[in-house]
């Protein structure tokens, strides 16, 4: 991809973030925003920009970037265009963690930690199941283990919610739909660390992802330690996904469609593809959050619903092209 296109993507991301901060119940002009960032002007504007919409927009960028990189890495490694970040038990485990925390009456602040713990536990169980089934560097076994763990998590959630009060159910379901409304600078910082470190690691492993695209035997012939590479990529990609889930709940479709968009831009090598996935994911989630706030100002449409609404037509177009 030409340098101009990279600058174009970066500019789009900046524009999306500025628009997301500018638009809302009270609209701000770009100059007002710049002044407010520096702490100047009307105190309400400063507060809204600095502590509400600013962190919210940045959290949306990081969630999108993390999901994009994670999805891109998993699709490339599994050689499957339907792979996505939640594949290896992340979503099911996170939901179980969140539901249990809600049922236990823990304060809302404990929810992200519970979700993160649930997601990590589910990923560990997925790897354990795959290992016990005798998967020796065979990613298909791991995929199936992920499906099994996900199904088990769904059953656990249904059991847990069967006798819960309507309020608890509402809270749990609302959390599962995903939102960046509760963004704070500390949540932005935590996710920044995860996304930068784990995302950067995945980009470095791009060469391995390229080699694995040939299949596991052929990758071994190129000099790759297949088992070790697969383990690293799956674990780190799931870790990024778990971190995004902890800060914003479940946001479907982003990790699934963003890699397709990157490929549509003509990016075939994993390293540049993953970088583009980060930018595209950021743009997509910021815009989805903005759309959710603007379309129904009183209630806000859940973020996960918007990304799915965008994702479905995108996939329909792709399907038409495939034929």
């Amino acid at each position: 991809m030409k340098a101009a296109r990279w600058w174009g993507l970066a500019a789009l991301l900046v524009i999306a973030v500025v628009a997301s901060v500018a638009v809302g119940t009270i609209a701000f002009s770009p100059s007002q925003i710049v002044r407010a960032v520096r702490g100047l002007g009307d105190p309400t504007t400063v507060f809204v920009v600095r502590f509400l919409r600013g962190p919210r927009a940045l959290l949306a960028v990081l969630v999108g970037a993390g999901l994009g990189i994670s999805g891109g890495a998993l699709q490339g490694t599994l050689r499957n265009p339907l792979a996505e970040p939640y594949l290896l038990g992340v979503s099911g485990g996170a939901a179980v963690g969140a539901v249990l925390a809600t049922l236990a009456g823990l304060p809302p602040g404990a929810l992200p930690l519970a979700a993160f713990a649930g997601a990590i536990l589910a990923v560990v169980v997925t790897f354990f199941v795959a290992h016990v089934s005798g998967a020796r560097g065979d990613s298909r076994t791991l995929l199936m283990a992920g499906v099994v763990v996900g199904a088990f998590a769904n059953a656990a959630i249904m059991l847990a919610l069967a006798n819960a009060t309507p309020d608890t159910i509402r809270n749990a379901v609302w959390w599962m739909m995903g939102s960046v409304a509760d963004a704070s600078w500390s949540s932005v910082l935590v996710l920044l660390i995860y996304t930068a470190l784990a995302g950067g690691f995945l980009v470095l492993l791009g060469r391995d992802i390229d080699a694995l695209a040939l299949g596991e035997d052929a990758a071994a012939g190129l000099g790759l330690n297949v088992d070790r590479s697969l383990r690293r990529i799956f674990l780190v990609a799931s870790l990024v996904a778990a971190a995004t889930v902890a800060s914003a709940g479940l946001i479907g479709f982003v990790g699934l469609i963003v890699p397709h968009m990157a490929r549509a831009l003509g990016l075939t090598r994993a390293r540049s593809q993953l970088l583009a996935c980060a930018l595209l994911g950021g743009i997509l989630v910021v815009l989805a959050d903005l759309a959710g706030r603007v379309a129904m100002p009183a209630t806000e449409i859940p973020l996960g619903a918007i990304t799915a609404l965008v994702g479905v037509p995108f996939f329909l177009i792709k399907l038409r092209r495939l034929r």
């Binding site: 005798g134 470095l204 080699a211 299949g215 035997d217 052929a218 071994a220 012939g221 075939t268 090598r269």
Partner: protein, 268 residues
Amino acid sequence: MISFDGVTVRYPRAAADAVASVSFAAERGMLTAVVGPNGSGKSTLVRSLLGRLPVQAGAILVDGQVAGGMHRRDLARKVAVVTQREELAFPVSVRDYVSLGRYAHRGLFSTEGVGDNAAVGGAMQSAGVDALALRSVDELSGGEWQRVRLARALAQETGAIVLDEPTTFLDIGHEMAVFELLHKLARGGLAILLVSHQLNLVARFADHIILLHRGKVAASGPPDQVMRAEILERVYEWPLVVARDPAVGAPALIPLRAARPIKGDGGV
């Protein structure tokens, strides 16, 4: 260069050995071919060389070192492998595909250097695919794809190339072109180890043939020693005759029809 020394491999949870006590060597400058019926253990040998299957007994040696004990990267600098099946989920350009052969020569942080570029360019030229550089691999014909895969192996700049059925699905012309190329590469000093079903082509091109039967070596030697009717009939469980290739005199195998020919069906 590559020697199999009493190699025994058994798949996990299998009742019998897939290959048992197989010994032979593939030397530099030679085209060595492994042939045998379906399920005789040909691909098993390739997968165990790659370290994808555990070797129960014996050893696979590459330049005198046990392959299983080598660092994968070091092994890939000595032996390139073109596996039987390979299908990319997401298409890349031919140039990018061939440059994957440089994996073992590059570090985690290094970008493609002058040496890499030269190796990739040279490999594409040797395999005759330099004109395809910018094409996407999913737009290639079967013959082009096999040559591009061979170019990738050449870009690895190894002393040996192992190929598992590189001419499956190719027509006669493309098949001959691949065999001529492999022969030329062997004469150029590479050790070429070829797994193939094409007995007649192997008989014409190979210096040494290993015939596998149910995981064991049934015959091993130059084409004239291995391509004998009594040996092949027993291994392939089918009646056949061995004739002579009119051009170079190599043994040529002709499988017979199962039923007797109908009397008087010869003339027009």
